[in-house]
């Protein structure tokens, strides 16, 4: 059982690394676009909180932004991919427990996943 655990963990770890790398590349592409299109003059003021523009807060808004060629939306897509990597880890671990016929920990994974999905449900 220990060996299977280790193999499973390693596979999960590699998946996570790939996910982070992909997210970083998307953020970098968005960042280059952002800096090319950045208006001349002083940087945006972050010292007062207004919250970012509404279209940068939902997956649909971000998607429409990307179709318009909006650089900030591309960065936000990368960040969404990043937020998804731990969720994928929990799903993969749960599947792994099922394959090991460890029902107890498959249910533990489902509980963690439920909390994560509850939080992500906010960004609909």
């Amino acid at each position: 059982m220990q060996l299977t655990d280790e193999k499973l963990e390693l596979a999960v770890g590699r998946t996570l690394q790939t996910g982070v790398l992909l997210a970083a590349v998307v953020v970098l592409i968005g960042g280059v676009m952002f800096l090319i299109h950045a208006p001349a003059g002083p940087r945006p003021d972050y010292s007062h909180f207004h919250g970012v523009a509404a279209h940068l807060r939902t997956p649909t808004g971000i998607w429409h932004g990307i179709l318009r060629g909006d650089a900030e939306s591309v960065i936000q897509l990368g960040l969404l991919l990043l937020i998804a990597t731990p969720v994928v880890r929990v799903i993969l671990a749960g599947v792994g427990f099922l394959m090991e016929r460890d029902q107890l920990y498959a249910w533990v994974s489902v509980m963690v996943l439920a909390v994560l999905l509850y939080s992500l449900w906010h960004i609909q």
Binding site: L35, V52, V90, V115
Partner: protein, 278 residues
């Protein structure tokens, strides 16, 4: 300062934060918020958003390396993640309701604690074998290689560890940090797990915990792409480089310097919060 200059300075500061965080084991995320608020006068809510994103990147990016060492315990981690994710959701809600001055003061105290925790206490790599009902039922046990032999261990005081993990999650969601110091406290001190198992399992849990508050942050507009982009890329690059050179470096002096920096930042965050300047 133009957007390009600002992004450049933020990127290099974040590389440094990630590098120092990985080398000293204190984590880069813990200095991002004070850096952004104290040095660059960014509102603490934007700072927390950018910090949380970089915490997820570091944790997921280093996951494979920790697994390869064979110390982390996936079952203990997953079980405790029920507590940390619930705490993180609670913490993220608190962030939207608590005044920013209070967040700043709590942040300062956590910084002071993190610096002290890196020094105090004896860290044992021995395993305890007393099995209580809960630890037996949930199979919260394992073994890890230490100096050529397998050391076996069983989790102690499970309810206390679970409760502390909820607090760690709450702090993570409230402050946008990994709160690794509190997670290690729960596993190493409360549950009596070997130190190496505690630190690696904690690193593995940080990303999942942070993801639980990220959805709420995003929907509230805390995650600013212009700020998060240089911070996330910088911290990720810095921490991955730091993890690679860690084996060759003598980090004792560096650790002291970084701990002092964190203490100064902690005090400054508390003073600025009390005076309403944050």
């Amino acid at each position: 300062m133009s957007s390009a200059e600002f992004s450049g300075i933020l990127f290099f500061s974040s590389v440094l934060a990630g590098l120092l965080g990985a080398l000293t084991g204190l984590g880069g995320g813990v200095v991002i918020v004070p850096l952004l608020t104290l040095v660059f006068h960014v509102d603490i809510r934007y700072a927390i958003g950018a910090s949380l994103v970089s915490v997820i990147a570091t944790s997921s990016g280093a996951a494979a390396a920790y697994v390869r060492e064979g110390f982390s315990n996936i079952r203990i981690g997953m079980f405790l993640e029920i507590a940390t994710t619930l705490g993180a959701v609670f913490g993220a809600y608190l962030t939207t309701r608590v005044p920013t001055e209070a967040i700043g003061i709590v942040f300062g105290l956590v910084l002071l604690y993190s610096a002290v925790a890196s020094y105090k206490g004896k860290h044992s790599n021995e395993g305890l074998l007393t099995t209580s009902g809960l630890a037996g039922m949930l199979r919260l046990r394992g073994s890890f290689p230490c100096e050529g032999k397998e050391v076996e261990y069983v989790a102690q005081r499970v309810p206390a560890g679970f409760g502390l993990m909820f607090s760690a999650g709450t702090l993570s969601g409230l402050l946008g940090i990994g709160s690794g110091a509190v997670k290690v406290l729960a596993m190493d001190q409360a549950m009596g797990l070997p130190f190496k198992v505690s630190t690696t399992t904690s690193n593995f849990m940080i990303g999942v915990t942070a993801a639980a508050s990220a959805g709420i942050y995003l929907s509230r507009g805390y995650i600013s792409p212009g700020l998060s982009m240089p911070v996330m890329l910088g911290v990720l690059a810095g921490s991955l480089t730091g993890a690679k050179i860690l084996v060759h470096a003598n980090v004792k002096t560096l650790r002291t310097v970084f701990a002092v920096v964190i203490v100064v930042m902690g005090i400054e965050m508390i003073i600025n919060s009390v005076m309403g300047k944050l």
